[in-house]
Symmetry: C2
Subunit: 303 residues, 2 copies
């Protein structure tokens, strides 16, 4: 299969490089890092062993890219609107577009822009960052789950998972709604609270008041998701996420890094959209609404 | 009437000095500032004209103070437990103790410690601060409302109000529960949010997200208070408080000053107690619960 990577940052760069290293035909769209990657390749410093991908099929413009069987979208969701112009050159009638992004409501929007296109969610569990142009540092984890949103051909999804596994990337097919909401159970409390409280995950769990707050926020999400029909999600999952986080090394989630580096935060898809869905369904998430308001304030006053 | 002032800071100092200046017999309990005030008097720099109270009937120990007809308590409520030893020397069988403090639940606790004692709430509306030992700076406002909690003799309350008015202090008798909850409508949102967001009142109201958050917090309080029987409080009052605050000069509430100067914050009576009351009555205030948790975190991690 031919792969296109839109957004060659840490996540897009890592999964794309793994696929390409294993022989897949992968085409990378780059923006600021195009010159460096085109001339020096893509370097992956991984906990599982470093490697250099060179040459890289790199592009500075989506219009120059070939049609692809699978497109992995790993843009920051604050740039989601760019997909309206970036995606079309890569699309065939049966292209599978996988949104490897955080949040809720992404597939809904992209589907509206491209009604006939097959969409899936890519839920990445990876600690990775771009340390300099053309260099991805992979700290730990590295799996990706695929949830089918609107692909009529399940085999296409299976094939993607098979390619990933062959490239030594743990990958599974998961239920779309369950996977997106499960991820939200971790993302919504920790991304926002680490920004607002200026504290790492471990500090938040060490203080009894914020530990309970994290739990309350998680249970708001579980409650809303169940109300929206995701009944496989239960309260025990929140406890599991807290214990998992307690066992992790102290961590700054991506939103905190965005904030500290004065980049826009992914407030819309991480908060605004799921909050709207829950409210519209008659099951508001009041504490998460408060967190969203605090983030909106910080975003405006930090720039 | 003989007056005792427990806690001669900005608030206790101001009201006590006004009464004494007008000829009332006022006895001041001081702690750190005793030497300065005993030798140099109490200086009030007021928007309505400066004055010096000298000599001051100052005491370093409550045990040395006379029995009083009225005791004004203006301690920070983080020290409420001290009243168990500070009050007894001043109490006669009919002494009226007025708690000029912020929060909910203060009279309940003090009544439990002194079951037979007459209690009232003093709701001060004043911008004042102690700028140095023995110096109170009074910026603006300066009224005080008295709400009877357990005084069987309404005349005693009337007499206090008359003494205050004679001393050029605007004072009214108000409904105890209504007054305490009305004050909470302003205190709970702005004290906590200015700390957590590190922003003044005007900034919070300029941002649409936090302006709505302030409104949501106020409406949680109105809803809980009404549920607890304070039906004279309505949603229009929240709007009025927002408009009043918008018209004020940018303001740092007392909790923010406490936080910045590494003093303990009045979290217990400003948040924990009203939150407990609302929760026990089956009408929780989720966003204010979150604010309390954030304050608890900051308190622990700031010291």
């Amino acid at each position: 299969m031919t792969y296109g990577i839109i957004g060659t940052g840490a996540v897009g760069g890592y999964f794309g490089a793994k696929l390409a290293k294993n022989g897949c035909d992968v085409h990378f769209l780059l923006h600021r890092d195009y010159d460096v990657v085109a001339s020096q390749g893509l370097q992956v410093q991984s906990c599982n062993g470093d490697f250099l991908l060179k040459p890289v099929q790199a592009y500075a413009s989506a219009g120059d890219m070939p049609k692809c069987d699978v497109v992995l979208v790993a843009l920051k969701s604050v740039n989601e609107h760019l997909l309206r112009t970036l995606l079309p050159p890569l699309l065939k009638s049966d292209t599978l577009v996988v949104l490897v992004q955080n949040g809720i409501g992404l597939e809904e929007d992209v589907q509206q822009w491209f009604p006939g296109t097959s969409l899936a969610a890519g839920l990445a569990f990876i600690c990775a960052s771009k340390t300099q142009p053309g260099v991805v540092r992979h700290e730990c984890f590295g799996s990706i789950n695929i949830g089918n949103y609107s692909c009529p051909d399940p085999q296409r999804i299976e094939q993607l998972v098979a390619d990933l596994c062959a490239a030594d990337v743990e990958a599974h097919v998961v239920d779309y709604h369950l996977a997106r909401w499960r991820k939200a159970v971790w993302n919504m409390p920790f991304n926002g609270l680490t920004v607002v409280m200026n504290a790492q995950t471990d500090q938040l769990l060490l203080n009894p008041a914020t530990e309970q707050l994290v739990r309350d926020l998680m249970l708001e999400i579980v409650g809303a998701a169940r109300h929206l029909g995701v009944t496989a999600l239960d309260e025990a999952f929140a406890e599991k996420m807290i214990e998992m986080t307690r066992a992790m090394v102290p961590y700054w989630p991506s939103m905190k890094l965005d904030y500290d580096f004065h980049r826009p935060m992914e407030i819309h898809y991480l908060y605004t959209r799921p909050l709207q869905m829950a409210r519209n369904a008659g099951r508001p998430m009041p504490k998460l609404e408060m967190l969203e308001a605090q983030l909106r304030f910080l975003e405006q006053n930090h720039r």
